[in-house]
């Protein structure tokens, strides 16, 4: 999961794309340390220190990871419980980024 996400962020640098996490680890500082080691550079919302937190409860997230893909207009375009294939992710994301670039 992390290698692909790292490559996504690198590949789409400068393009209208953002990877945002909702993190469910227990301890913020621990998480930050692990992020450094794993080269996780993208921002995460803090879910309050557990998989049962305010954001995941509001979104009814019961299985991790869960992913949502949002277009540049804020419309939900894809959703997955569990990680989809890298190919499927790249295809969908590239398509929407092209739409976003075109709209400018």
């Amino acid at each position: 999961m992390f290698p692909h996400e790292r490559s996504l962020v690198k590949r789409l640098e400068g393009k209208p794309f953002a990877l945002l996490g909702v993190n469910s680890d227990k301890d913020r500082d621990e998480c930050k340390k692990k992020n450094e080691t794993a080269e996780i550079t993208w921002r995460s919302f803090w879910n309050g220190g557990s998989t049962k937190g305010p954001i995941s409860d509001a979104w009814n997230v019961r299985a991790w990871p869960t992913l949502y893909l949002i277009d540049h207009n804020g419309v939900i375009r894809a959703k997955s419980v569990g990680s989809p294939s890298e190919k499927a992710m790249d295809e969908a994301i590239d398509k929407l980024v092209a739409e976003a670039v075109k709209s400018k």
């Binding site: 996504l8 794309f17 909702v22 997955s80 739409e99 976003a100």
Partner: protein
Amino acid sequence: MRRFVGGAVLLLAFLPALWAQDDKKPDAKTPAEELKAIRDEFDKKFSDLRTAFTAEQDQAKKQAISDQARAMTRAYEKRFLALAQKNPKDRVAVDAISWTMARGIKGPDFEAGAEILLKHHTDKLSTVAPFLARSTSNTAEKLLKANVEASKEPSTIAQAKLQLAKFHKNLADSWEPVEGRDPAKAAAEAEKLLTEIVTKYADAANVLKLAKPDLEEIQKLSVGKTVPEIEAEDLDGKKFKLSDYRGKVVLIDFWGHW
């Protein structure tokens, strides 16, 4: 003297029957006993593997144990299925097939088990329904629908509809559409069933508790809806909003290092 002979003759008359009883194989088990024997055998082996897994530090060796457990489960699934096929009408067939479906049996063996249930045990499908929601097969849908049809009490109907709704919601929640399935249609089907549960079966409180969050999720968070706002702190304690990123494509990932 005659009585004694008579008695002796009578006794001799019974003896052949007694002998015949003893001829019966000493370990001929009833189907239920056979089921228990296979299950106990599996449980012991599985427990041993789990102990080995926990004790093992090397990741590659851990993976090997995990693979072994998986292969063993697949092998035992066949034995449970064989038992069910030998006794299709017996209650044991339900328990045996349920064991396999709980462990995610797939393919022709899954189909074979499903066929036995549909033929002889539609009144017991609620046993396997919870295991079918994660399946994407047409046969799983067939079983779940049959379970709804066979349910009589409002609370069991509500439960059956919930399982069928979960099946459709699972299809809707897939990034890569399952062949032959339209995620939007699946979401609509799930929404329909969940709405029925919430409006017509409001008395089935425990089913309602599970149906409501799923219904709200489909209504608010399906493909095509505008994403809700998130406003929270990041890992540095700084507050930020999802809407700060409007104008960009955003991939939201609910994750953890654990």
